[in-house]
Amino acid sequence: MTLTGRFVLLVALGVVPIVLLGGTPEEALAVLGGWLLLALVLGGIDLALAASPRRVGISRVLPSRVRLGEEVTSELYLSNEGRRRLRGIVRDAWQPSAGAGNNRTAIVLPPGERRMLSLTLRPYRRGERTAAHVTIRSTGPFGLWARQATLLAPARIRVLPPFHSRKHLPSRISRLKELDGRTSVLVRGQGTEFDSLREYVRGDDVRSIDWRATARRNDVVVRTWRPERDRRIVIVIDTGRTSAARVVDEPRLDTAFEAALLLAALASTAGDRVDFLAWDRRVRARVQGASGAELLSRMVDGMALIEPELIEIDWTAVPGQIRAITGQHALVVLITPMDAPGASTGLLSVLGQLTQRHTVVVASVTDPAVVDLVRDRSNREDLYRAASAERTMLDSARVAAAVRQLGADVVTGSPEQLPPALADRYIALKAAGRL
């Protein structure tokens, strides 16, 4: 039960009769008592006539998934199962991060009828966003007092990673096609395999003329080439404590997701098989054996719920996990921070094992602000900060050198640069036939 502003106003209006009629204190007190009694009686009648907020049927229509940054409409259907006309306000109690904005809606619901309340959600955090209940405040016909009840109406919507880096996908796919025999630019190399024979057209590389086939026909025939297909790619994302750190206001983990999604989309288009593993001390997400659209949808689905854990990643188990995914040679992409030699000992200790069997790329997010800080040496504080920034860069350069020494590749970049840089490295490796 609750009051409305109208009731407060009604009580406050009692000033008028008290001043006008209350000559003596006794009369004025009598008028006051009378007015309060009147207000209470009116409120009581109002409350008695208000529709029950409990006798309301609820159903929802809601997409199960939405990309972060996109809008989605949540539809809430309320049906009046009581016998009185329900007037009031409805609150659809979403979590704040679901971005429901003003989630209070006035409603008039005649008995036996159903109304839809639509609410635009604009979630601003990844993961599972939930609504717990619906609160209905039903006011009486005079609008003085109201009945209120909270009805359990759970709902959930999964907010997927935004995949901003998909804007890089078309350009990378066209570069990938340049490797393919379908374009006029023919790239030959170790990483390509024989595709088909076709007639010579002007501009083709004379070195690719297949003389034996030419001899069989009356025409000059050239071989076409295409990049290798059906290679294995294993993406391993570190979800340990260091991935929680923010670089340019984005957790490293989210940048890792962007890079992994772009690489998966590209490799899946190129016909390679992509497996995905999010790991710290246990498997947080694993996508195996999917391809095409299903691969991406399963990846974002798995990523949506991952938050950085407050534990150190267990690198020693990573080779075993990769072996469980594939026994063949594969391109293993480890997306992990690479900051200090001390923190990277775990990674370096297992890298040797991995590079023996696989082609390994270690991708890492760097802070672009560090480079600017090195330049700024205007006063003592800034100089020390520049020295510290330089130290940070030297440290990561040392780790990168150690990683290269163990036979792995290193890709670093700021949050915007890392996903396309990783994609470029994949294309380069593919062209070089190192998959």
């Binding site: 009051l3 009731f7 407060v8 009580v11 406050a12 008290i18 209350g22 000559g23 003596t24 204190p25 006794e26 007190l29 008028v31 006051l32 409990r54 049927g57 609820i58 159903s59 229509v61 997409p63 259907y77 199962e81 609150r91 109690a93 704040p96 717990a132 209940h133 609160t135 209120q148 909270t150 009805l151 359990l152 929680a244 750190a245 923010r246 490293r252 997010v365 560090v370 480079v371 800080l373 090195v374 330049r375 040496r377 003592r380 504080e381 100089l383 020390y384 520049a386 020295a387 510290s388 920034a389 330089e390 130290r391 860069m393 030297l394 350069a397 990168a400 890709v411 670093t412 470029d424």
Partner: protein, 420 residues
């Protein structure tokens, strides 16, 4: 993608009034019990307490005067408790022959009003008189201090005192100088100090009783207190028991604020309280429970770097800081000079000196040798390193490429780009 849940009569998490009452039944019963216990305790405490006005006719507390009043009533005396001088005058005037009992512990009465008292009744008993009262009614009588006598015997020709014999020792006394005429002092204690003084004139008898103990409920039963009290007060059919109150204080000056305030002000204030309470319920009533949200922890990646910078600054680690800058600069200069990553330092110094045309000793001093003695030296050295680096990059650049860009230092290696 969209999922529709079937319509269901939603279960309410807000309890109905009945359920809420049932759930909080224990606390309601406990609260009611506590209130009942508090009321009972208050009643008992009130009955046995020492509160209430002293010598009031209806006060059963130890300091009250209900005992003597009740006994007098049983003896057929009409006791009329009054609170103002006007009421006292009315009561005595109606009764004809009356005894007037007055005690003014708070000193409400002015000397004019006190002077009117003897005219009201034939016999006036004034208990515990203050200075004003003595000045107005018995100018010859003064104060005698606290009695130190072990016993107080009547020792005087006043009939009531003689019948009483003794009264409880101690208490206040009144002083009666030897030259004061017309007064009879009773219950003496030492020099000219008496507990009861009487003055009889032609049409009026004034009895001054110095201490309230004679009439108080607590002490009336001891010694001859009761006899003295009953004999003093029970002589006439009517006893007017007058305890002055604030109403006796004459109104002076302009009318008070209360008299000027219109009648509706207090009710309007009360109404405002009610309105405030209602408004608090209106604005304060929560629209359903809150929904919990796990908040992310914000950790900036540059925090360790900032922390290390502050450690350097606090420890004045000049050499360490400048060495870090030197190592970075050497790496970049080696890159610019086209040397391998693993090139030894001497070779880098020679190449840089050759490129920039500076002396190898100077280059060595800037890159390795110098140790900054103070902050100023460190700043200078840092500028020298920067200068050397930009000069090297400028010199290593092939002639004609990007003129004018020489001021800006070389783009940093590794970070922000794909590693080769």
């Amino acid at each position: 993608m969209s999922t529709a849940t079937p319509t269901f009569s939603a279960r309410s998490s807000t309890p109905t009034i009945r359920a809420a009452l049932r759930r909080s039944a224990f606390w309601l019963v406990a609260g009611a019990g506590a209130i009942v216990v508090a009321i009972i305790a208050f009643l008992f405490a009130g009955a046995g307490g020492t509160a209430g006005p002293p010598l009031a006719a209806d006060n059963p507390a130890p300091v009250g005067g209900m005992a003597v009043v009740e006994v007098l009533r049983q003896q057929g005396v009409t006791v009329v408790p009054v609170n103002t001088l006007q009421e006292a005058a009315d009561a005595t005037g109606k009764a004809g022959n009356a005894t007037l009992f007055v005690t003014d512990a708070s000193g409400y009465l002015s000397s004019e009003q006190l002077a009117d008292l003897p005219g009201l009744a034939r016999h006036t008993v004034l208990v515990d008189p203050d200075f004003t009262a003595l000045q107005a009614l018995a100018p010859g009588v003064g104060f005698g201090g606290v009695s130190t006598a072990d016993s107080l015997d009547a020792d005087c020709p006043v009939a009531a005192a003689e019948r009483a014999g003794t009264i409880s020792p101690g208490g206040k006394t009144l002083g009666l100088p030897s030259d004061a005429a017309g007064y009879t002092g009773c219950f003496p204690s030492g020099d000219a100090a008496y507990s009861v003084i009487e003055r009889v004139t032609a049409d009026h008898t004034l009895t001054l009783v110095a201490d309230t103990a004679v009439f108080a409920n607590e002490t009336i039963a001891s010694f001859g207190n009761a006899a003295l009290a009953l004999n003093l007060l029970g002589t006439e059919d009517t006893l007017v028991w007058y305890l002055p109150t604030l109403a006796d204080v004459p109104v002076t000056g302009p009318p008070s604020l209360g008299a000027l305030t219109p009648g509706w002000v207090t009710p309007v204030l009360l109404l405002l309280f009610v309105v405030t309470a209602a408004a608090m319920v209106w604005r304060g009533r929560r629209f359903g429970p809150l929904v919990a949200e796990n908040l992310p922890v914000v950790v900036r990646a540059s925090e360790t770097m900032e922390g290390r910078a502050r450690l350097y600054a606090r420890g004045n680690a000049r050499l360490r800081a400048i060495d870090a800058l030197r190592m970075g600069a050497i790496t970049r200069m080696a890159q610019a000079a086209g040397l391998p990553r693993t090139a030894p330092l001497d070779q880098v110094i020679r190449s840089v000196a050759a490129l920039t045309g500076r002396s190898p000793d100077r280059v060595h001093a800037v890159l390795v040798g110098e140790e900054p003695a103070g902050d100023a030296a460190m700043m200078t050295l840092s500028d020298a390193i920067d200068d050397l680096e930009s000069a090297t990059v400028l010199a290593a650049r092939p002639p004609g490429s990007a003129p004018g860009a020489g001021d800006s230092p070389a783009s940093p290696p590794s970070t922000g780009r794909m590693e080769p």
